[in-house]
């Protein structure tokens, strides 16, 4: 049941989720509730494939993915910060927009539907010692300590956390709240772009409608479970990835797919219960 390929497939499964969850954590720290991760990932997927296709370079594809997802996250940024719109409305709407827009673009740009791929479409290729993993996988792991340092060892991180806790206080101390919030949302968009690029050019080499299949929502849950700390978020994503990979194994021993599908969600829910239960016990009232 447990072998190297379990971890390898868990690793593959969790990378896009990890990128998105780090984006979510960053936003959460600055007091922005970001549920548009699913849409950002999907836009990243599309950007990656389009970029790679038109330039013939997967890495330019990654850059395009980052630009596209960052641009897309402007919707949340402008809507929620400049116009003070409700981030949940904007999140739900922009997720639907991502599905509609990428489906629309796949028809108008690639002249096809459902999915786009081509044998000549460049993927990221393998990198490093672990089979089947792209450079972006390692980058996602590096992003964890990098963000932890940024949040807890860099002046920006201190200000960002202050902005998240009491924006009006931060602003009275000369910190430009708007700038920080725009910063985290756009940086989150960029991270989701990387996640989308990994999904569309790292995991596989194609774009399919709605190919994120709920990974952005899992990321939202991971932010919660990981308490918006980069390390916690990593653990949460890892837990989910392992539970999913483990679910595949359970199919192998004869459980119906409909039963194993639920495994990662149930595991996550139980983990949430346990972590909250512990916290409650340690901290009365």
């Amino acid at each position: 049941m447990i072998d190297a390929s379990l971890f390898s497939s868990a690793l593959t499964a969790l990378t896009p989720i990890l990128f998105a969850a780090l984006a979510g954590a960053l936003c959460q720290r600055a007091g922005v509730f970001n549920i548009s991760l699913e849409g950002s990932l999907l836009v990243g997927c599309f950007g990656a494939v389009a970029g790679s296709w038109y330039t013939g370079s997967a890495w330019i594809g990654v850059v395009v993915a980052v630009i596209a997802a960052t641009a897309y996250s402007l919707i949340l940024a402008i809507g929620s910060i400049t116009f003070d719109g409700d981030p949940i409305v904007l999140g739900v709407a922009s997720n639907l927009l991502a599905v509609g827009l990428t489906s629309f673009l796949i028809r108008t740009v690639f002249g096809t539907e459902g999915s786009f791929s081509d044998p000549t479409l460049r993927g990221l290729g393998q990198f490093g010692p672990i089979p089947g993993q792209s450079l972006l996988v390692y980058l996602s792991w590096l992003a964890v300590p990098a963000l932890a340092v940024l949040l807890y060892r860099h002046p920006w991180g201190l200000r960002l956390r202050g902005v998240g806790e009491r924006p009006e206080a931060a602003s009275s101390l000369g910190v430009d709240v708007t700038k920080y919030r725009y910063g985290v949302i756009l940086a989150g968009g960029a991270l989701c772009g990387l996640g989308g690029a990994q999904l569309a050019l790292g995991s596989v080499t194609l774009f399919a409608e709605n190919m994120t299949a709920g990974r952005g929502w899992i990321a939202v849950v991971a932010v919660m479970l990981g308490r918006a700390h980069p390390l916690g978020v990593l653990l949460a994503a890892l837990l989910f990835g392992l539970a999913e990979a483990f679910g595949f194994r359970l199919q192998g021993i004869g459980l119906p797919q409909q039963a194993t599908d639920a495994a990662p969600y149930v595991v996550t829910l139980v983990a949430l219960f346990l972590s909250n239960f512990k916290r409650k016990k340690g901290q009365p009232a």
Binding site: S5, T12, S115, S117
Partner: protein, 319 residues
């Protein structure tokens, strides 16, 4: 609006698909079939693409309002909707491909496939080629209809080389028909368990994930519906092809000729189902199996046995 359509004197045909055509080989063949038919009968043709059960119903109703000579619907998702429309519109002729209404209707002609025969043959190839004695399948959903791509694969492999075992995995999840990353992860998982030949029935996008896993993991895969070997040359052994275009051509012709209400089943014998490797253009197909003439010879024998009735492949969907 389309001037060509106005001028055409022949019958009007409408094809309704259950999901966007795009790169879906099965649906692409269906579109090809309707186009060929329209050309052949000097008629017109339209394609309505649906996305979900609600739009299937809408599109079917819209098609009925246009009163074309034949409405062609492909995909099992249409069963209930066609039954309802056929009952309500006894004058309207339907060609229902890939499935049939539970109750027969005089105005509904059905064309179904026996994919399991093709899968069985593909399994035989896998059994012959497998070094590990383990074959697998990555299939969209854990349901009898889709078991036609897994169970017969194991049976064929076992027949070709006794002792070969099958490990099927199903995609499921939030988006089973469009989750290539998950399809790839499942194929990789199978490889981790020692499987070296994987049948891919993971949807149009999903199969590409399976092929990529094969490329990375150095194992082999099988495609479905059309020749998918060019998508990943050197990795795809063979394909279970479904000649939807031919079947639609036949069906439309029969209906226009006045024969309606039948159900015709297409298998290896009727040449509705085949393997790319067994086709005349196998050599140029870029399929791995083309370079294994010995395997093809043995599989050819099995095919003949199926045609003659010496071998009967159980249909998992019947159980």
């Amino acid at each position: 609006k389309d001037p060509a359509a106005q001028n055409a004197a022949g019958p009007a045909l409408v094809l309704i698909t259950p999901s966007p055509v795009g790169v879906n080989d099965f649906l692409k063949l269906a579109v090809q079939g309707i186009e060929d038919s329209a050309k052949k009968h000097n008629g017109t043709q339209k394609v309505f693409q649906s996305t979900d059960p609600a739009s299937i119903q809408q599109n079917l109703a819209a098609a009925v309002r246009e009163k074309p000579a034949v409405i062609v619907a492909v995909g099992f998702n249409f069963a209930d909707a066609i039954a309802a429309e056929a009952e309500r519109n006894p004058e309207q002729k339907f060609l229902f491909v890939d499935s049939c209404t539970t109750k027969p209707f005089p105005n509904v002609t059905c064309a179904v496939f026996r994919e399991h025969e093709g899968t069985y043959l593909a399994g035989a190839e896998a059994g012959l080629l497998s070094k590990t004695g383990k074959v697998g399948a990555v299939v969209v959903l854990d349901a009898p209809q889709f078991h036609r791509y897994s169970i017969p694969f194991g049976k064929g492999a076992e027949k070709a080389k006794p002792g070969t075992t099958l490990a099927p995995l199903f995609i499921g999840g939030a988006n089973p028909f469009n989750d290539p990353a998950r399809a790839k992860a499942l194929a990789t998982t199978l490889a981790g368990q020692g499987v070296d030949h994987v049948m891919g029935a993971a949807s149009a996008a999903g199969n590409l994930g399976v092929f990529e896993a094969a490329k990375q993991g150095g194992f082999f895969a099988f495609g479905v519906d059309a020749n998918q070997c060019p998508a990943s040359p050197g990795q795809v052994v063979d394909n279970v092809i479904k000649r939807t275009n031919v079947v639609i051509g036949d069906g439309v012709e029969a209906i226009l000729g006045g024969k309606t209400g039948e159900t015709k089943s297409y298998g290896v014998k009727e040449k509705g189902i085949s393997l790319t490797g067994l086709e005349p253009d196998a050599a140029t197909s870029q399929c791995v199996v083309a370079s294994h003439p010995d395997v093809l010879a043995k599989v050819g024998e099995l095919r003949d046995q199926i045609i003659s009735g010496a071998i009967v492949v159980d249909d998992p969907a019947e159980s």
